[in-house]
Symmetry: C2
Subunit: 359 residues, 2 copies
């Protein structure tokens, strides 16, 4: 498929100007653009600038507030609950993570549950904010209902990702960032563009039969929890997605389960609400609240070197350390540019025209 | 297979007396017995009294200290690192969880990383200790290396379970407790006793080929991470198992990865050590550090009722709430007794004879 290359600074500048044009402060617009383009740099194209239109549509539908007053509703020395005032998750989550980091500085760990937010980009961005402080970073979010629980037919959970980042000494940091479904929506989109079927075990139809139609979700189907089927422990993926949902929303006061407002503005949120907006949960743990940071980082290096040199099944495919592929992709795209598919480029051009911003 | 039924109080009394006979204080022996038999009550037979011989063997091999002086090595208001003094995890982990709960009372959350411990029974026991305090409980442990990372041949991780418990109002509590592999060792043992093969996607042989021989681990094979293969996202199970390993051991100063000392006393721990004993990580989060506990518990009830009534694929198999099967099993076994396989009964008889304790 044809692509056009863009420098990341060009995309950040464009996104910043567009978000500013729809009412964000210069500071918030720049922060959100940084989070959004970090996804493109890391190769998570489904969560990058291609979603700018989606955020604009939420704003048009008055489901996103470009001037949020982010407020701590309740706090203790190690916790806070934050009301995101229906702002972009791209803005709300990094600010909540700053609160978590500040609390960790004071009492060892900081944990922030966030309600009344919107889609927050890649989970890993927020977790990685902890690294420069020699802290472990954790980031969870709930999301548009797409996923059936084990034995169920209905879409009850989102892809509900988990990100955890550990600092290191000389090795690059360990950054795990993954959905709790077998495959995330972005993987389906790639297959749709190529007119390919999915492997079995990724999705089911509206009756709960396993299917391989990459367009199956649009026809009432569901994603399957990590594990795919009961025999391969999909109940564990369902547990994980549920834990993320509860931490992000039942704990924060956001919408949970089937009530989570969908990211796509043309899909109506359910009339009934059980909380405010969507929910996130972020945490920071100071390493030296447990042991000297240098000791931990030295052992992390050893952990990584040990796993990287694990004997591979196929000599052409060594064992991967979480975060390695995204880091390599970032290096490649910082140097060579970010390839955007032509439909995405045309969409951005159109957005640019609407708001008088040059791509 | 023939079984004999035992009252749970009988098994607790027997286990307490045996552990006391090998040197534990009466108090520690009773605590360990309570943790151990809770596994039998919950139907996790692989982690219950059938393992008593294993713990005794560790003591004989001088790899378990029956008189541990459990010590806080380092702490902050919300964290502690605990040296378990090579005690039973069955004793060390509940005491560490008490520390986490006490810290959560003070500053909202408490997190304890534990080194120099041994096998701690079922992860769920320790997480569930938080429930009566209106707290969320979390419990992780690393374990005997049995599991290959995605693309790898060697056993680098244990089954590294995750347990999370959420309090509720009128519904029974939500208790997730699961290994981060597709199948845990206990599942293999059941198939071995029945002379049955495993489903595909559970294990691989020493060369990394998928196999279905339930005895495959004894022949140098490995368990597979949750997800089973790359196409079904085994890298996510590998990430989860790795995060558990790092939180439990790199953070606490215990052995990690392939250095984790095996539970089976006849397997020699590696001569080189990168830390002390095996590691756990437990946490407690006070609900009202985020929102009023009554609000949370009311919404948890709604979450549970909503998921339980999700339209099922098969009308004879409704959607399960994490913790339901174990709770139902507990009720059944509290009333009707705990069935033990005859080889387990004979082994316990033999242990009883050695230590002058009547089963």
């Amino acid at each position: 498929m044809e692509v056009q290359l863009f420098n990341h600074t060009q995309l950040i500048s464009f996104t910043t100007q567009v978000l500013h044009a729809i009412g964000h402060s210069a500071e918030d617009a720049a922060l959100a653009a940084d989070v959004l383009i970090s996804a493109d740099l890391r190769g998570v194209d489904s969560h990058g600038v291609a979603r700018l239109r989606g955020y604009i549509n939420l704003w048009k539908a008055q489901r996103m507030n470009p001037k949020p007053v982010i407020r701590i509703e309740h706090e203790t020395p190690s916790t806070a609950t934050v009301d995101g005032d229906l702002g972009l998750g791209l803005v709300v989550a990094p600010k909540a993570m700053e609160i978590a980091i500040a609390k960790a500085k004071e009492v060892g760990t900081g944990w922030v549950a966030i309600n009344n937010s919107n889609h927050y980009g890649i989970a890993g961005y927020h977790a990685m904010m902890a690294l420069e402080h020699d802290m472990i970073g954790i980031s969870l979010t709930n999301a548009t209902p797409t996923t059936a629980p084990t034995f169920g037919k209905q879409r009850m959970l989102g892809t509900n990702p988990i990100a955890v980042a550990f600092p290191t000494e000389n090795q690059p940091p360990f950054v795990a960032d993954f959905s709790t479904t077998t495959a995330a929506v972005g993987k389906l989109e790639i297959l749709q563009r190529k007119n390919m079927d999915t492997p079995s075990g990724w999705i089911q139809d509206a009756d709960g039969n396993g299917i391989t139609d990459a367009h199956g979700l649009k026809k009432g189907g569901s994603l399957l929890p990590l594990g795919s089927d009961r025999e391969h422990s999909s109940h564990k993926g369902y547990c994980l997605g549920s834990v993320v949902d509860i931490m992000c929303a039942v704990l924060s006061g956001a919408n949970y389960g089937p009530w989570v407002p969908p990211f796509l503005a043309f899909m109506q949120p359910s009339a009934e609400q059980v909380g405010k907006g969507i929910g996130h949960f972020v945490g920071a743990m100071r390493i030296d609240a447990f042991r000297p940071a240098d000791d931990f980082k030295r052992h992390m290096d050893n952990w990584i070197e040990t796993f990287r040199t694990c004997e591979p099944i196929n000599e052409n495919q060594s064992v991967i350390i979480p975060g390695d592929p995204e880091r390599e992709m970032t290096q490649e795209r910082l140097n060579g540019g970010i390839p955007l598919l032509m439909p995405v480029v045309e969409d951005l051009m159109d957005i640019g025209k609407t708001f008088g911003v040059k791509l």
